[in-house]
């Protein structure tokens, strides 16, 4: 079958001018688009207002679906599950036995911890959440990892606040609209979280990889001190993420650190909590996470 000839290559002068103008517009569009994309990576705030406007406009549909069945979430889930069913099954079994052991261990620690804190009179009091929200959608077809949550400026959410679910850290707020906010997930490659190993407080740096896992590096250690099954929580240094928020479990070791699976799966239709930034009481706003020097970050 011959490809359809669209009649665009006619010899009429007028049609030729029209076609030329269309090509000109297309080429200008390509150059402008490329420049905008490059500038956006350097300065992500430029298009923030436009994007958050679109997020506001599309949020009602996601809200309705969330409120209804939530069936849409199953499609991709089942595809992904089919894709790695065998290895995942085995990994999950291992995780489960490990998690059981850890839970028992943690109960003991919790009791001991409460007692010690009472002794020291260091109890900080529970962090009062700023807002609770639904996670509406994630950037499912992009290599950047964002999510839209169902709480915005009107709920007290501001840029640069930690977001967590019941299981662990999700990310930080980035752009805030009246009713929705865009969250940079911890799995995004631009997101770096100062962390500690739960059992001994070893200072670590957790950064996203763009897929479902996290890259973990020890800050000051020769060799690789990490072990599979190590639990990480945020250290609170840097003043953004609240200390002791669970982040993930090490599942694989690499030459210079390890890979961790986040404890909180930023799947859709889960409830999240927006917390105040860890140094919200102080005068200075926290610097953006991406630009901090990883060495000087670990102040203590």
């Amino acid at each position: 079958m011959a490809s359809p000839n669209d009649g665009r290559h006619s010899y009429a002068r007028r049609a030729q001018y029209g076609a030329f103008a269309a090509y000109l517009v297309a080429i200008v569009g390509i150059i402008t688009g490329l420049m905008a994309a490059i500038i956006w990576v350097v300065d992500p705030v430029g298009f923030a207002n436009l994007r958050i406007l679109v997020a506001e406009a599309t949020a009602p549909v996601a809200r309705t679906v969330n409120a209804g069945t939530g069936a849409a979430g199953g499609i991709d889930d089942s595809i992904a599950a089919w894709w790695r069913a065998g290895s995942q099954n085995q990994a999950l079994r291992e995780d489960l036995t490990r998690a059981r052991r850890m839970v028992i261990h943690a109960h003991g620690l919790e009791a001991e911890n409460a007692e010690l804190r009472r002794l020291l009179a260091l109890t900080r009091g529970d962090i009062r959440p700023i807002a609770t929200a639904q996670l509406l959608s994630t950037s499912a077809n992009s290599t950047r990892r964002y999510a839209i949550i169902d709480a915005g400026y009107g709920d007290g959410v501001r840029s640069g606040q930690p977001v967590r679910s019941a299981d662990g850290l999700i990310g930080r707020t980035l752009e805030v609209g009246p009713n929705v906010a865009r969250v940079l997930l911890i799995t995004d490659q631009q997101n770096v979280v100062p962390a500690r190993r739960a059992r001994d407080g070893l200072a670590l740096l957790v950064s996203g990889r763009g897929d479902e896992l996290l890259d973990v590096r020890a800050l000051n250690a020769a060799g690789n001190p990490l072990k599979i099954g190590d639990v990480l929580h945020s250290s609170g240094s840097g003043g953004l993420y609240q200390p002791r928020t669970p982040i993930g479990i090490i599942i694989r070791l690499t030459s210079e650190g390890g890979l961790a699976r986040p404890l909180a799966d930023p799947g859709s239709n889960i409830g999240v909590i927006v917390e105040p930034a860890a140094n919200a009481g102080l005068d200075e706003p926290p610097p953006p996470v991406e630009q901090r020097d990883p060495i000087s970050e670990d102040g203590n």
Partner: protein, 171 residues
């Protein structure tokens, strides 16, 4: 692809439905990502782009060559990619298809599929590069599952475009 209507009739006063269905279907496909899909890594295919190339394969004459600019802008705003990347890449794809149409005149389904899959690969790769998603190895690991599923979902996407085309022509 036999023309059902003579050329001059398609040029004058097309009904609104006929003009809008292709554009709207691409916009809807782009906006599907804002629904609560549960995705912890880039698994959802670039539905807007697949719809665009499906329509372009089916009917070369429905859109001006610069249609990638407005449609790509909308896709950028909902997808989380850097704004401007789809604007540029979709327009490049339209220009490339125009050039290919002139060279490869005789087509069958297999060639169309191969061309569309190549376009998808280049699009995903360039999109990941523009989003600074790491070095080449990481990017290839990231986009491979997405590319595989997208390529397999191309024939259904073309089928959807063909069904919509039949519907919009049935006045």
């Amino acid at each position: 692809m036999a023309r059902l209507l003579p050329a001059e009739e398609t040029l004058i006063a097309l009904p609104v439905k006929m003009r809008l269905v292709p554009t709207l279907s691409v916009l809807v496909a782009s906006a599907l990502v804002t629904l609560p899909f549960d995705a912890a890594f880039p698994m959802l295919p670039p539905l807007g782009f697949m719809m665009l190339i499906s329509w372009r394969m089916l009917r070369a004459d429905i859109w001006p060559i610069w249609i990638g600019i407005p449609l790509g802008l909308f896709d950028d705003l909902v997808s989380g990619q850097p704004v401007g990347s789809a604007v540029a890449l979709w327009t490049v794809a339209m220009l490339a298809m125009e050039a290919i149409d002139r060279r490869i005149v005789w087509r069958d389904f297999g060639i169309d599929w191969l061309l569309a899959a190549t376009a998808l690969f280049v699009y995903l790769l360039a999109g990941a590069l523009l989003a600074r998603a790491g070095d080449m190895m990481q990017i290839l690991q990231l986009i491979f599952p997405q590319l595989a599923w997208s390529a397999m979902l191309l024939p259904p996407a073309m089928r959807v475009a063909a069904m919509l085309d039949g519907w919009r022509r049935r006045l």
